[in-house]
């Protein structure tokens, strides 16, 4: 699997930026800290994430992120930072506009504690946060989310094999606008809302005030909110996510007024196609990872491929 890690000097540069910023507080918006509350800039810097060309370093109570190269970080990114800053109870976004460091786009944010996968997962908080984002009137400057592209790129990376064929057959049942054969292809009209655009449990942190926030705003924008629920929906339908966890998440989302599921009696009218797409995408990601490591699929990975078999058997998505 591609896990391209960052060059060593980038880590040092990010630490430097974090320390400078902690000392001056220049990037901190609207907060002046003194005495015991001052960030500890001398704390040992810690790499939080170093994969796929993204490097995230914690320096005290700041997080310095070198974003993925090759993505668009122009006006839409600035607009996303603004939108996130306008929703501080829901989103923990960059403290200001990005800077360019050694040719990389770099942002600073406040540190938040990530979800501990060994503990009970905050499904209800996730449902409430997503419902909160979706129920926010769309800010005028919010860019368009666009369309889901990752399922097509992951399926295109697959090699030969029976699992690979199974995934490709399932992919063929997806509507053309998701398969990406023609980017201008007609897609069903869905009410648009503000959406996170790439939600999973790694996109939640507990801020200093003890409340959860969503992070990583690179895909924030106007779009169909059902796609923010697609990953847990796919894992539930594939038998990987326990039904109790799915129910906690969906019930909390619906109770908080989330618009992605207008008919609580049948959430699948809106969630089926996003869930199919994510099941296929996750299956492809699992197979690519297993082949890269030259190992067999484990139980949950095989469950994702099996779900692809059932998707093909169920036929074209309505």
């Amino acid at each position: 699997m591609e896990t391209e890690t960052a060059p060593p000097d980038l880590f040092a540069r990010l630490v430097e930026i974090g320390r400078d910023s902690s000392r001056t507080g220049s990037s901190r918006t609207g907060s002046s800290r003194t005495g015991a509350d001052a960030p500890d800039a001398s704390a040992e810097p810690e790499t939080l994430y170093d994969r796929h060309g993204v490097l995230v370093v914690r320096v005290g109570d700041l997080v310095v992120k070198a974003h993925q190269p090759g993505r668009e970080y122009g006006d839409p990114f600035l607009a996303r930072i603004k939108v996130a800053a306008s929703l501080p109870d829901l989103l923990l976004g960059p403290l200001g506009p990005p800077s360019t460091v050694d040719g990389r786009t770099v942002t600073l944010s406040l540190y938040g504690e990530p979800v501990d996968p060994q503990k009970e997962l905050p499904w209800e908080e996730a449902g409430r946060l997503l419902a909160g984002v979706h129920a926010t009137p769309i800010p005028a400057e919010a860019p368009s989310w666009g369309r889901p592209t990752r399922v097509a790129t992951q399926v295109a990376r697959l090699g030969d094999g029976t699992a690979e064929d199974e995934i490709r057959r399932a992919f063929a049942t997806l509507p053309a606008w998701i398969r990406g054969e023609d980017a201008g292809m007609a897609r069903p009209e869905r009410p648009e809302h503000l959406i996170h655009g790439d939600w999973h449990l790694g996109q939640m942190v507990r801020a200093r005030d003890g409340h959860w926030r969503l992070i990583d705003i690179e895909d924030l924008g106007r779009g169909d909110p059902a796609w923010d629920l697609a990953r847990p929906a796919a894992l539930y339908l594939s038998g990987v996510l326990h039904p109790d966890e799915w129910t906690l998440f969906l019930d909390a989302y619906a109770a908080a007024g989330g618009p992605a599921v207008p008919d609580a009696a049948d959430p699948w009218t809106t969630l089926d196609i996003p869930a199919r797409s994510l099941a296929i995408q996750i299956a492809a990601t699992c197979v690519i990872s297993a082949r890269g490591d030259e190992r067999a699929l484990d139980g949950p990975e095989q469950a994702m491929v099996d779900a692809c078999g059932r998707i093909s058997a169920a036929g074209d998505a309505a």
Binding site: P117, V240, C286
Partner: protein
Amino acid sequence: MHCPKCHGLMRTYNRSGVHIEQCDSCRGIFLDYGELEALSQMESRYRAAPPAPGWGAPAVQHHHHHGHHGHHGHHGSVFHMLFST
């Protein structure tokens, strides 16, 4: 109790709180007062449950990876599925 139709022996079964008498010989079923209503109520509750799409995993095949004794450890591939893009 004997079957009113063929006089075979009737056995009592309990299905989700509803008592059903079934004849061992002709397989005929006898319902007491109120039991038909109880059954139709259960049916409507079943229908009210959100139907999952046809490709959903049968409940028995769930690969949920809860640890023992109430711990919710998510490891390995499930961790990646839940925590990364």
